[in-house]
């Protein structure tokens, strides 16, 4: 399997989603990774509740950050370019975000679970077509469980909460993943290998079959310092970049 850094980056995105969940938002989050340097340059979380706007999705927050970075870059010719960025998002981008990603010029999107109702990368429409590559199913079970966590919590605010035993978080059942909606057979083989292709692609199964392999710490941990960590990583990256450019000059 040619999957390496992808897991690490998706873990970061899921920690952000957990942060959003712990702070009253829908647990959908994303990070933007600059491929040439394999570093995070921006991140986003869903903000629809706070902003009271149906369009404040995680992707928009990150795109705005990158535009800001480009604008204030002292060396515009070395500013980061969208075509060098891979978007990691815990849930398949909705049609609106899938189109925004296309228009802004991002070339690769990696997501956890599909978005049956609004998904723009294969679930409802396939906006990406010839403009960018899509890789689905990375830490999918964790992404699904994160959303289930949210729905269980939401029910707690319902006027007449049912007893907790009735709606225990379902930890074992996962819906099938229709791989072919998101990724071609060839690309799947190329990414996950022949064995995974034979075992998973047509049987609509997750990459991870053993429950023990689910990264439970992402669902149970608190990541209250994740924003500071990411902010400092990004600042460091740009300080370093500046040093390199100055040195070269």
């Amino acid at each position: 399997m040619k999957i390496g850094y992808e897991l690490k980056h998706m873990e970061t995105a899921l920690k952000l989603a957990k942060y959003a969940l712990d702070h009253g938002e829908t647990p959908v989050a994303c990070i933007f990774v600059h491929e040439p340097t394999n570093s995070v340059v921006a991140f986003g979380m869903n903000d629809t509740n706070k902003s009271r706007s149906g369009t404040s999705h995680a992707e928009f927050m990150g795109i705005a950050q990158i535009l800001e970075l480009q604008k204030k870059d002292e060396f515009p010719e070395h500013a980061i370019r969208f075509e060098d960025i891979t978007l990691y998002v815990t849930v398949e981008p909705c049609i609106m975000c899938a189109s925004a990603v296309q228009q802004i010029g991002i070339k690769k999107v990696i997501f956890g679970c599909g978005n049956d109702r609004f998904g723009g990368n294969g679930s409802v429409l396939s906006i990406q077509q010839d403009s960018y590559v899509v890789l689905p199913g990375i830490l999918r079970k964790e992404a699904v469980l994160m959303l289930r966590n949210f729905y269980v919590m939401e029910n707690d605010h319902a006027p007449e909460p049912r007893t907790k035993t009735n709606r225990k978080l379902d930890l074992q059942e996962f819906p099938p993943i229709p791989w072919k909606n998101y990724i071609s057979e060839i690309d799947f083989k190329d990414t996950f290998g022949e064995t995974a292709y034979r075992e998973k692609y047509n049987s609509l199964e997750d990459l991870i079959s053993d429950e023990k392999d689910i990264k439970w710490d992402l669902l149970e941990g608190r990541y209250d310092d994740i924003l500071e960590i990411l902010d400092s990583q990004i600042t460091q990256k740009f300080t370093y970049k500046k040093q390199c450019i100055v040195k070269k000059a």
């Binding site: 902003s51 009271r52 706007s53 369009t55 049609i95 609106m96 975000c97 189109s99 609004f118 409802v124």
Partner: protein, 312 residues
């Protein structure tokens, strides 16, 4: 709600044209009103042998079957005569899942016995979608189950809508004039109007000034509504949108998320427009919200030219 013939608004139901200048643009879901139904409800069939009990069975289905899905399909006839036999559909197999359970209910509420009726093993497939024309309704009746033709449901949709032509003309004129004098690279102009709350916002394409290629006039308008939203407000509910150019996929979906009720636009954008030119995004079945779309096809108002490959 007025009867079609009493409606003072001039509506051409065949061509879906209102007041000779507003062309209804169909959503993706109604594009598929094909000659074939695309969803079915599978129903139990009772052959009623004792014809005196017909009324009793009809009442039984109406009163004794809770949350009967068939009630939602008003154009489906409940009874048909086939080769002299009287066949009746009480409910779907989702509503009552087993033959035994249905028989139990029948016995309890109608007191009918095996001499009076027969619960058939063969189920009936009832089209869940409406046929587009009377001819097709008749055809479906023969292949599946008889339907009553109550007219094209879209006629009712067009008839029930309000058309304040003074307001519509005023806003179309305004965006058309603003677009003509606008110096932006993408000269699109959008008005968000909420008559109930007396709110009106005019939005321009801001990508030249902000440097953000996603700041289309529709997105900027949604932002304005959100920023000025009253405490009890909800997104763009009750808003109507008037815009010069057919919006791109991002904007069309943003309007779905924002729950607008209706959109009017003037000019098509062939490559990227996502209402008429591509996707028909205002009416995709799986999305949780839809809106109505009309294109102004009169000759009074125009939109400034844009590149057909630009995202508006």
């Amino acid at each position: 709600m007025v009867k079609k013939i009493h409606n003072p608004v001039k509506i051409d139901y065949v061509n879906c044209l209102v007041e000779d200048c507003l062309q209804q643009i169909k959503g993706a879901d109604s594009m598929t009103t094909s000659a074939q139904p695309h969803e079915f409800l599978s129903c139990w069939v009772i052959e009623i042998k004792n014809k005196a009990l017909v009324q009793k069975f009809v009442r039984f289905a109406k009163e004794n079957i809770p949350s009967n899905e068939l009630d939602g399909l008003q154009n489906v006839k409940k009874i048909k005569v086939e080769n002299g036999a009287l066949k009746f559909i009480p409910c779907s197999t989702d509503t009552i899942q087993t033959k035994e359970k249905l028989q139990e209910l029948i016995a309890e509420h109608t007191k009918a016995d095996a001499n009076d009726y027969l619960l058939l093993d063969q189920l009936a497939l009832i089209p869940k979608t409406s046929p587009p024309t009377k001819e097709i309704a008749l055809e479906w009746g023969k292949s599946y189950w008889p339907l009553t033709w109550r007219g094209n449901p879209n006629d009712q949709v067009l008839n029930d809508m309000e058309y304040d032509m003074v307001k519509i003309n005023k806003y179309l004129k305004e965006i058309s004039e603003l677009s003509a004098t606008c110096k932006n690279t993408v000269p699109s102009v959008t008005i968000f109007s909420n008559s109930r709350q007396n709110k009106l916002y005019v939005a321009y394409d801001e990508r030249d000034t902000t440097g953000n290629p996603l700041d289309h006039s529709v997105m900027c308008g949604i932002k304005q509504v959100a920023e000025n939203l009253p405490k009890d407000g909800y997104l763009c509910l009750d808003y109507e949108v008037f815009t010069t150019h057919e919006p791109c996929a991002m904007c069309c979906m943003a309007l779905v998320h924002s729950r607008i009720s209706r959109l009017f636009y003037i000019q098509d954008v062939k490559h990227t427009g996502s209402l008429k030119s591509n996707y028909h995004m205002h009416g995709i079945k799986s999305l949780n919200s839809k809106y109505h779309v009309f294109q102004y096809v009169g000759d009074k108002y125009h939109a400034a030219a844009v590149e057909q490959s630009a995202f508006v």
